[in-house]
């Protein structure tokens, strides 16, 4: 018997990982001048949460 086709709503872990990686790369580029400043580092972590957990 053929396996049931994946539904449109089922998450695709590989696609999600690829999207997360793309988001992280873009954020790294946006924050390329952030350095070690603690406020910038905290903002970076917040934006990683925002872009990867939406």
């Amino acid at each position: 018997m053929m396996p049931a086709a994946a539904s449109d709503t089922e998450p695709d872990p590989e696609a999600e990982a690829a999207l997360r990686e793309t988001a992280l790369q873009r954020l790294s580029y946006l924050f390329r001048r952030a350095g070690t400043d603690p406020t910038m580092q905290a903002l970076w972590r917040a934006m990683v949460d925002y872009r990867t957990e939406k």
């Binding site: 580029y29 946006l30 390329r32 001048r33 952030a34 406020t39 910038m40 903002l43 972590r45 925002y50």
Partner: protein, 284 residues
């Protein structure tokens, strides 16, 4: 290329057109607690281009009223005078520099950043104890000096872009290096000519200044709020600028905002949704 003479810049600002009369009237109403909203609404309705933009945003999915806001009067009823005022100012200001006059400068990306900063400022305003309409207006205008420089001095501003690309620095650093002045000072001068309230002029002129840690504490002023909104807007990365770069976040200003990072992100999510609607101001 010689740096720009500040007097030369001021003279050019003097030659720029004023804002439409109805926008100036809306601006004046900020200072008048007894402003006649009905009379101002009628004047807005008489400006077809302006009212069409306001209605387009009022009918955007953000407000959940698609197709139900047919007239400026309807918009005043369902959105309130305050929201309509900020939309009129947004439509008037974004339409004040024609795209063809700005050469290679990406005017759409510029205004998109302004709109995102404006919606961020509006969302953060309550936490800073600042009027949200003023916050939106100052956010929209905060970088206006850049478009003045790009349209009045296109050759100079092309050099700024080249310097920035070569050094991957912040735009304000490239401006100071190439022009000997920066967009914040130019924006302050333009908002003075356009008769914006002094607090908005000051916010535009000082949005890159860091707070004095020795100064008395308390919530940030409008300039500090716009600094936070500017950083947030760059971090949201919605303007479509491939070379986007998040500015340094002033720790003193951030500490004085006194909000948690989760709350910051809640504001960002709301600002992003609002910006999608407000971006309709940029449609012809």
């Amino acid at each position: 290329m010689q740096p720009l003479d500040p007097e030369q810049v001021v003279a050019q600002i003097g030659k720029l057109p004023s804002l439409p009369a109805v926008v100036l009237e809306v601006l004046e109403s900020f200072e008048d607690d007894h402003a006649d909203a009905g009379a101002i609404g009628k004047k807005i309705a008489q400006d077809q281009a302006l009212s069409a933009k306001v209605l387009r945003v009022a009918n955007s999915p953000f407000y959940g009223l698609q197709g139900r806001v047919a007239t400026v009067k309807d918009a005043m009823v369902v959105l309130g005078f305050g929201n309509v005022r900020t939309l009129v100012i947004g439509a008037g200001v974004t339409g004040s520099f024609p795209a063809h006059a700005s050469g290679s400068f990406d005017l759409r990306a510029f205004w998109m950043h302004g709109i995102v900063a404006a919606t961020c400022a509006r969302c953060f305003a309550d936490d800073a104890g600042i009027d949200p309409e003023r916050a939106f207006t100052a956010g929209l205008l905060h970088d206006i000096g850049r478009v003045v420089l790009a349209t009045c001095f296109p050759d100079h501003y092309r050099r700024v872009a080249e310097y920035r690309a070569a050094h991957d620095c912040y735009p304000i650093e490239a401006e100071r290096q190439v022009l000997g002045l920066d967009h914040a000072a130019v924006g302050g001068a333009l908002t003075e000519r356009w008769k914006f309230a002094p607090v908005i002029q000051q916010a535009v002129a000082a949005h890159h200044c860091t707070a004095d840690p020795a100064a008395p504490g308390g919530k940030p002023d409008l300039a500090g709020l716009i600094h936070v909104a500017d950083v947030a807007a760059h971090a949201l990365d919605l303007a479509g600028d491939d070379d986007e770069l998040v500015p340094q976040f002033d720790a003193v200003t951030w500490t004085r905002m006194d909000i948690s990072w989760p709350r910051f992100l809640e504001h960002l999510a709301q600002a992003e949704r609002r910006a999608q609607g407000a971006a309709l101001l940029l449609s012809a």
